[in-house]
């Protein structure tokens, strides 16, 4: 979608390797989120950010870390990928409480 880009779109990696997913926005929104989507679980919040260098944990944060050094970029890192982290990852942004989330196109990650 315009304004929010995720990279890579697809990635296959081996168990135990580090992986970083990138979310880039051009909307200058303060709030950014990482979700994972798995069958039967919907979207679950991993981490979120409410400003540069301000982040907090979501529902399923174990095994993940995030960083936000610039307003436009929000990185999700799997320090040591496991097969349970095989999923589709979505980044989302929002400008204020009266607006819905605006999603990226997702990153399909497979950990073998």
């Amino acid at each position: 979608d315009a304004g929010i880009t995720q990279s890579p779109r697809h990635k296959v990696t081996e168990t135990g390797t580090p992986v970083t997913l990138r979310c880039h926005q051009t909307e200058n929104h303060r709030y950014m989120y990482w979700y994972r989507q798995d069958p039967g679980h919907g979207l679950r919040l991993i981490h979120y950010s409410y400003g540069v260098k301000d982040t907090d944990k979501g529902e399923v944060s174990d095994g993940y870390s995030v960083s936000r050094s610039k307003t436009e970029d929000f990185l999700l890192t799997l320090e040591s990928a496991t097969s349970s982290q095989t999923s589709v990852y979505f980044c989302a942004i929002v400008g204020d409480a009266n607006s819905p989330l605006h999603f990226g196109n997702g990153t399909r990650l497979t950990v073998t």
């Binding site: 979608d1 919907g42 979501g58 989302a92 409480a97 819905p100 989330l101 999603f103």
Partner: protein
């Protein structure tokens, strides 16, 4: 903390029939409520949202939802389903505080039969 329950994992309706997808939420304050739709292999698209005011909200594609505070529900309805409505539907609740976190239900997959 907020939470969302969608009791139906999947629903099958005939084309032209009416549809109601159930959603119950838990949140201590006035919630921000959303319905999103996701077609296979696609991202999420907002159908409608409720923030305040009229409890019956209209959305895109002929969908509507009604907020019932006493039942903690926000059910999605459509009077006549089209085959193109087959997709997965997610109810979500947002919080005004705490980073505007939005929590999603597990989703309901809609199948439409001819």
């Amino acid at each position: 903390a907020q939470s969302v329950t969608q009791p139906d994992i999947h629903i099958t309706v005939s084309e032209g029939a009416s549809l109601e997808l159930r959603c119950n939420y838990s949140y201590g304050a006035t919630p921000y409520l959303f319905w999103y739709v996701q077609s296979p292999g696609q991202g999420l698209q907002l159908l409608l949202k409720y923030f305040s005011g009229d409890t019956l909200v209209q959305g895109i594609k002929g969908f509507e939802a009604e907020f019932k505070r006493s039942q903690s529900s926000f059910n999605l309805r459509k009077p006549s389903v089209h085959w193109s409505d087959a997709a997965e539907y997610f109810c979500a609740v947002g919080a005004e505080t705490g980073g505007f976190k939005t929590i999603f239900g597990a989703g309901t997959r809609l199948f439409v039969k001819a």
